[in-house]
């Protein structure tokens, strides 16, 4: 909270200062990071990102250039508005850094080759092997060719919209002759609902967003407000640091303050929550330190407990009998209403308490609030000299800024401020590394959940990583703006790497992104692509009802005095999804039904799906652990594609959307095979493919065959082509 305010004030000052500096160019004092001071007038800037420089005019009229990165924070804010923020300029800067690194590595490897040739100790076999390795790496130090429009289009749709383009979208883009069509498409997609859905899928894996919210609980709480909050935050372009602050500082119940869902998720698991917070938002694994000093990193067991102590006064539950926040006694209310229902014969013979009422009121006991009690202390078997078993410790951060508790309302607020501060050495690096990985397939640092204390020499491209870090800060943590730059780079718009980078390459930091890595679609990308192929508007079917849920939960039950009133209350609750959390809270339960399958985007369905569902089979996270999704293959996946109803019915039977509306749709002239290829692979068929595909469509001029049979035969053959294309690796992978 505190920092937001100070940030706003700073921005206001800078605007003021800046506008005045434009109209009255004036001398002011400039301070460098290391405290040197200088009187000068701001006259302009050059470069972008890390290479950005300010032009300052000294008293003697000489103009000097000074790197923005070396200015004090206040001065950086002062000049921020006048630095280039054009995505193309920033993208060019990234491209320069990518190419530089590749060049450097290329020359190094060439040198290695020469040294290898001169090596007299190594055996011939070893030499040959090493030579091949180096040559393979050299190959990966040459930038891949630029993508063609088809390749780019399919990839950008999958990355940003989370699905393949529809036939209409694909034709529109490929027909466009606008020289800026790529940049425009990127803008359009980043502003779409589809992007919010795509990012929700990412965040729900990272944050473990699941129905019932609480990991080990009775499942009565609805995740809907929290789910809606994540989507809306993305859609509205809420800065990422603010999002994180809101989650860490949220108070109250989930329907009043949806961001509370984050803390509630780990209800009853306080120590796990602090580990999770570090992994998710700082890319730092401190779980080990819960039980002993971390063997590899500079984190002691006592550091863990000092960190946990920040959150140690935060509660997520009330006592067994109390509803939280003084709304009366929960048991008494259940008893009162049940008695009325019993008297009216509304309960079963042997029942005396109404289960639904009990469960609705029970979920009111879950809320985040700050107390006076510190619930964290060192473990009972603490064995180091710097503390006693069961001793309470003072909250403190073991890296980054020193926290001054007095400035904040609660230790939790202090912690949130420390964690999201731009000066926290891992907060920004963590998010830019994760977002880079979303676009390129690998992070600059791998694994992304274990960022080492010092980055130089650990990242694939240290200069690039620090550039991305300062760019993110300059952009005030706006995810869309960050992605806009990344997706506009040539590096992103190159063809995918055709080889798998070796572990040694990843380890030694010698993989430099000649193009994005070839990735298998995530379970959600695959499912949402199937949805795109089977419905006219994949984003039209959305999960809703969270606001009605809020309304129901706000009912003051003590005002429900009669049986009809209580029954109406129960009915209202049933309308917003009732007790079974597996159900979608959609107003229309038949929504999205295609050929017996619910073809609705993954983000709008129950989180997660049952283990037997297509999504889970292809690796949707079970939402139990951070980033628990997977893209490994399995036989059940292949069986689902070969024999399952999605490929055999939903996409390819005569009633399928693709056949009825696209191939034979009204006003859809044009080649049938081309339409199918464009719909599924986002490209035109080669002449050979077109020949093969249409071979089965035309009857062999059997004179006896009537028109109806001929059409049926053609439809069947089209179904075969659809089935075959969806079963290709080309479909499954993001090129």
């Amino acid at each position: 909270m505190n920092r937001n305010k100070s940030k706003k004030i700073l921005t206001a000052i800078s605007l003021l200062a800046f506008s005045s500096s434009v109209s009255f160019a004036e001398m002011r004092e400039w301070t460098s990071k290391d405290g040197k001071k200088l009187q000068a007038e701001f006259v302009g800037s050059s470069g972008a990102g890390n290479a950005a420089k300010v032009k300052l005019k000294l008293a003697n009229d000489t103009i000097i250039e000074y790197p923005v990165s070396k200015l004090s924070e206040l001065d950086r804010v002062f000049v921020k508005g006048s630095l280039p923020s054009d995505p193309a300029a920033l993208a060019a800067e990234i491209d320069k850094l990518v190419i530089n690194k590749m060049k450097e590595s290329y020359l190094g490897l060439k040198n290695d080759l020469q040294e290898l040739a001169a090596d007299k100790e190594m055996s011939v076999a070893d030499k040959t092997k090493r030579k091949q390795e180096i040559e393979r790496e050299i190959e990966m130090c040459m930038p891949n060719p630029p993508t063609n429009d088809s390749q780019f289009m399919r990839r950008i749709y999958l990355d940003v919209a989370g699905r393949i383009p529809s036939y209409e979208e694909a034709s529109r883009f490929l027909d466009s002759r606008d020289p800026n069509r790529r940049a425009k498409l990127i803008d359009e997609l980043l502003a779409s609902d589809a992007f919010a859905m795509r990012m929700f899928n990412y965040f729900s894996d990272l944050l473990r967003v699941r129905e019932g919210v609480v990991m080990m609980g009775n499942n009565d709480l609805k995740a809907d407000p929290y789910i809606e909050w994540i989507k809306k935050s993305v859609k509205d372009g809420k800065p990422y640091d603010i999002m994180v602050q809101e989650m860490l500082t949220a108070e109250g119940r989930i329907w009043d303050n949806p961001a509370a869902g984050y803390i509630i998720s780990d209800s009853g698991m306080r120590l796990c929550n602090i580990s999770n917070t570090f992994t998710i938002f700082l890319g730092t694994e401190i779980t080990c330190a819960q039980c002993h000093d971390h063997p590899f990193e500079q984190v002691k067991q006592i550091d863990f407990y000092r960190m946990a102590t920040f959150m140690g006064t935060t509660e997520t539950r009330a006592g067994r009998r109390d509803m939280m926040m003084n709304e009366g006694n929960y048991r008494d209310e259940v008893t009162r209403m049940s008695a009325l229902l019993k008297e009216a014969g509304k309960l079963r013979e042997m029942e005396t308490r109404d289960r639904v009422i009990e469960d609705i009121l029970g979920s009111k006991r879950v809320a985040v609030n700050d107390t006076e009690n510190q619930m964290v202390s060192l473990p009972h078997d603490y064995k180091y000299d710097n503390g006693e078993p069961n001793q309470k410790v003072e909250p403190a951060a073991y890296f980054g800024d020193t926290v001054n508790l007095e400035k904040f309302a609660s230790p939790r607020a202090a912690f949130a401020d420390w964690l999201t501060s731009p000066s926290n050495p891992r907060f920004t690096v963590n998010i830019v590394n994760r977002l880079w990985k979303m676009a390129f397939g690998y992070g600059q640092i791998e694994p992304v959940y274990n960022i080492p204390g010092h980055l130089d020499g650990q990242a694939q491209n240290y200069e690039l990583l620090t550039f991305l870090e300062s760019m993110m800060k300059d952009m005030d943590f706006k995810i869309q703006d960050f992605f806009r730059v990344i997706y506009n780079t040539q590096a992103y718009q190159r063809e995918s790497e055709t080889l798998t980078p070796t572990l040694t390459q990843i380890d030694n930091g010698t993989y430099h992104f000649p193009g994005p890595v070839l990735r298998r679609m995530s379970a959600e990308q695959l499912w949402d692509s199937m949805v795109t192929l089977s419905t006219a508007n994949p984003e039209s079917m959305v999960r809703k009802g969270w606001d009605q849920y809020k309304e129901v939960m706000h009912t003051d039950t003590t005002t429900l005095k009669t049986v009809p009133e209580i029954e109406k209350f129960k009915e209202k609750f049933r309308m917003v999804g009732g007790l079974s959390n597996g159900e979608m809270m959609m107003m229309d339960r038949s929504a999205g039904n295609v050929g017996g399958e619910k073809m609705v985007r993954a983000s709008e369905m129950a989180q997660p799906q049952q283990p037997s569902h297509f999504l889970r089979m292809f690796g949707q996270s079970d939402k139990q652990l951070i980033e628990n999704q997977f893209t490994a293959g399995s036989s059940p996946q292949v069986m689902a594609l070969l024999n399952g109803s999605i490929t055999n019915k939903v996409l390819s039977d005569p009633e399928a959307f693709l056949i009825k509306e696209i191939v034979y749709g009204p006003g859809k002239k044009g080649d049938k095979v081309e339409k199918i290829f464009l719909s599924i692979l986002g490209r035109m068929p080669t002449p050979e493919e077109a020949r093969m595909a249409s071979a089965g469509m035309r009857a062999k001029k059997d004179r006896d065959m009537n028109e109806k049979d001929a059409k049926a035969m053609e439809v069947k053959a089209i179904g075969d082509v659809i089935w075959a294309l969806v079963n290709t690796r080309e479909f499954l992978f993001i090129q």
Partner: protein, 444 residues
């Protein structure tokens, strides 16, 4: 392969071991073709290791102990459940289980189970993994543990199967999706999508595959990544599997005298689940878990016991008889487990609520000596009176019967050590040692 990995691990110093483990886990997630054959050998000490297979019947919801294996007739908590003689002096079980009373010489009952938590998911998690649920990792269940410690049992069939499981099953835990038990949702339907749909003829199927391979040719030629190759291999393997005998084993209808078998097992979910489990075990699958609900008896427990208890009695009795008839009983461990018991006090809705303090489980076959009871609850079934058995001991007993090494330390990708039946740190030596102890009385 696994052995290679282990040797490599031992040669690395601590820091690189951590990195190595983390990276290996990642690649294993990316490409998972490697078969895990081999592994270490069985531990056959002290009567253990006779079980080659395990059928784990999991009664989800919390099986009432007082109305099943630990009746308290004539006491204030006994309810309407009467005791039934088992033929073993001094031992009675609830009257809802007449079939098991008759077969008591083959079964061993634990009446002193105790558990730390009274919520379904938490309780089930403890029983399945021996560990407390965490929000930072998932621990593996017994089937994947057995595969890890003993190696894969069958070349083409999966090592473990879960029939009728829900979304909360911890599955392979940190061993990763490669070791995930094959889920069978409905015993009637077998393996999902394993057959060519009726609407597609064999010729058409072949034609589709030809088209697929032609359309995909240039892509596969261009992208020579491990992942692409892995998928192509999965297609080949799956097409082989579809044509193999292996799949027939998942089809209940293929059971000889199916109708008659169904009559004895009962045409119920648990009956069909148990029959399928027997078929799977017979064809070589090591670990089959059958989940069956209906036990969360908060209301009207007498009526609920008549159906749910009756169905269990029928299915389990038939399973014992069938395994014996097939000569599989001695090498197949049957385990009956649940997350907790139910309150001795009957509630206002004539039901019983959650009661983790004391409850019952049951073992049979696979080297277990039947006709006995281990442990004791107090007079009213409220607490353990003698020989408490916790979830770690419960799993240690299963592991011992299967010949798993209880002392074998396995590292999760995060580098943390774990054991099959839980572990604790021995302060004297600073080493991790097993926590659970098998009920040795069952193996004598």
């Amino acid at each position: 392969m696994k052995q290679d990995l282990k040797n490599k691990l031992n040669q690395l110093d601590e820091i690189s071991r951590r990195q190595f483990v983390a990276r290996t886990a990642q690649t294993a997630l990316g490409v998972s073709i490697l078969p895990i054959l081999g592994g270490s050998s069985k531990v056959l000490a002290a009567g253990g290791g006779k079980a080659e297979h395990c059928i784990f019947l999991y009664m989800s919801g919390g099986m009432t102990h007082i109305d099943t294996f630990d009746p308290k007739p004539g006491t204030e908590t006994g309810g309407n459940t009467k005791g039934l003689s088992t033929g073993v002096a001094g031992i009675e079980i609830g009257h809802h289980l007449p079939g098991l009373a008759q077969r008591f010489k083959d079964i061993a009952v634990v009446r002193s189970m105790t558990q730390k938590t009274g919520d379904h998911r938490g309780g089930s998690y403890w029983m399945h993994t021996s560990y407390a649920p965490l929000a930072t990792m998932v621990h593996p269940t017994m089937g994947p543990w057995a595969q890890t410690l003993l190696g894969k049992k069958h070349a083409t069939l999966p090592d473990s199967v879960v029939v009728g499981g829900g979304g909360d099953h911890p599955g392979p835990g940190f061993f990763g999706p490669k070791l995930a038990p094959l889920p069978i949702g409905d015993p009637d339907r077998g393996v999902q999508n394993s057959e060519r749909p009726m609407t597609v003829s064999e010729d058409q199927f072949e034609k589709r595959l030809d088209l697929m391979n032609s359309f995909d040719e240039s892509f596969r030629k261009k992208f020579k990544t491990e992942e692409v190759a892995a998928y192509t291999q999965f297609y080949d393997e799956t097409l082989n599997l579809m044509n193999s005998e292996d799949l027939a084993t998942f089809k209940l209808g293929n059971e000889p005298n199916y109708e008659k078998k169904l009559e004895s097992y009962g045409n119920t979910r648990i009956g069909k689940g148990a029959l399928l489990a027997k078929r799977l075990v017979k064809s070589g699958i090591r670990f089959v878990e059958v989940q069956s609900g209906g036990w969360d008896m908060h209301n009207g427990i007498d009526a609920a016991m008549q159906t749910t208890g009756g169905d269990l009695d029928k299915a389990l009795s038939a399973l014992i008889d069938d395994l014996k008839a097939e000569g599989l009983f001695e090498k197949t461990l049957i385990v009956l487990g649940t997350e907790f018991g139910r309150t001795p006090q009957i509630n206002a809705n004539s039901g019983r609520d959650h009661h983790p303090r004391v409850f019952s489980t049951m073992f049979a076959g696979g080297g277990i000596t039947g006709g006995q009871v281990y442990g004791k609850s107090d007079k009213l079934g409220i607490a353990v009176e003698e020989d408490p058995v916790n979830p770690m001991d419960f799993n240690a007993t299963i592991a011992h019967a299967l010949g798993l090494d209880l002392t074998k330390v396995v590292y999760a990708p995060s580098g943390r050590p774990f054991l099959v039946a839980g572990h604790k740190l021995d302060r004297a030596t600073d080493k991790v040692v097993p926590e659970g102890k098998p009920i040795m009385q069952f193996f004598s």
